[in-house]
């Protein structure tokens, strides 16, 4: 019974082995897409886009790696830790407003000159944090589903 299962698994893996085209395209596109995602959420307060959009682009680039190679050399616990740290950073950035004597999520830090990368107080860092969080979360959703499909 178990042998049969193992054989079936082997067959499935052989069938689902991605072609060289997918692998090489994933190699070329992954760095570009990843950098583009980072750009989108770092410039979230200057140009159209933001944390959610950038995080989605990052997650799709990582999914491309999964499609091409079937695994990622980053441990899952690291991704979970990154996600939790990002969530805590969001709340911590919100607490700056309280420490300065205002409301939660008050934009208390100096606004700076509009149009600069380091402007708009806490909005830029919050979008960076949201981008990291969304990227890791969507990746882990995909990872959970992929592992499930491998087991059966």
């Amino acid at each position: 019974m178990e042998e049969k299962k193992k054989n079936e698994e082997k067959e499935r893996e052989e069938v689902s082995e991605p072609s060289i085209i997918v692998k090489s395209v994933a190699c070329i596109v992954f760095p570009l897409a990843f950098t583009y995602g980072v750009y989108i959420f770092v410039h979230g307060h200057l140009t159209p886009g933001g944390g959610f959009q950038g995080g989605t682009i990052i997650a799709s680039s990582v999914i491309l790696i999964y499609l091409g190679f079937g695994r990622l050399n980053i441990p899952e616990s690291f991704m979970t830790a990154l996600e939790s740290i990002a969530a805590l950073c969001f709340i911590g950035l919100g607490c700056i407003g309280i420490l300065k004597g205002g409301n939660f999520l008050w934009n208390a830090v100096g606004l700076g000159e509009a149009g600069n990368l380091l402007s708009a107080g806490i909005l830029g860092p919050i979008y960076v944090v949201i981008g990291i969080k969304v990227g890791t979360e969507l990746t882990s959703i995909f990872n959970n589903m992929r592992r499930k499909s491998y087991e059966y």
Binding site: H45, L46, G112, S140
Partner: protein, 93 residues
């Protein structure tokens, strides 16, 4: 009796709807004033040139926090659905 009650209710509904229509703003006028405030003062108050960011992160920061929480809940739900198979709780053979 029932019919009279129905007519009364109908008349009430029609009058309420007519009153609502009479108080609607003129064509082209903003029905909510806060949008103009965002457009006029958003850059000075929040400092971001992307106006959507001003609204999403500054004026409605709580909403974004909730949105992130929703996504986190979705991830947790998917993990809870698919995680169980690997760690025990298999069918008895």
């Amino acid at each position: 009796m029932k019919r009279a009650l129905g007519y009364l209710l109908l008349g009430f509904l029609i009058s309420v709807l007519m009153l609502t229509v009479m108080n609607v703003n003129e064509f082209g006028e903003h029905s909510i004033g806060v949008g103009e405030h965002y457009l006029d003062e958003g850059l000075e108050e929040s400092g971001a040139t992307n106006l959507v960011t001003n609204i999403v992160l500054d004026y409605r920061g709580y909403d974004t926090l909730g949105e992130v929480t929703v996504l986190f809940t979705a991830t947790t739900g998917v993990a809870a659905l698919f995680w169980r198979e690997k760690h025990g709780r298999k069918e008895k053979e």
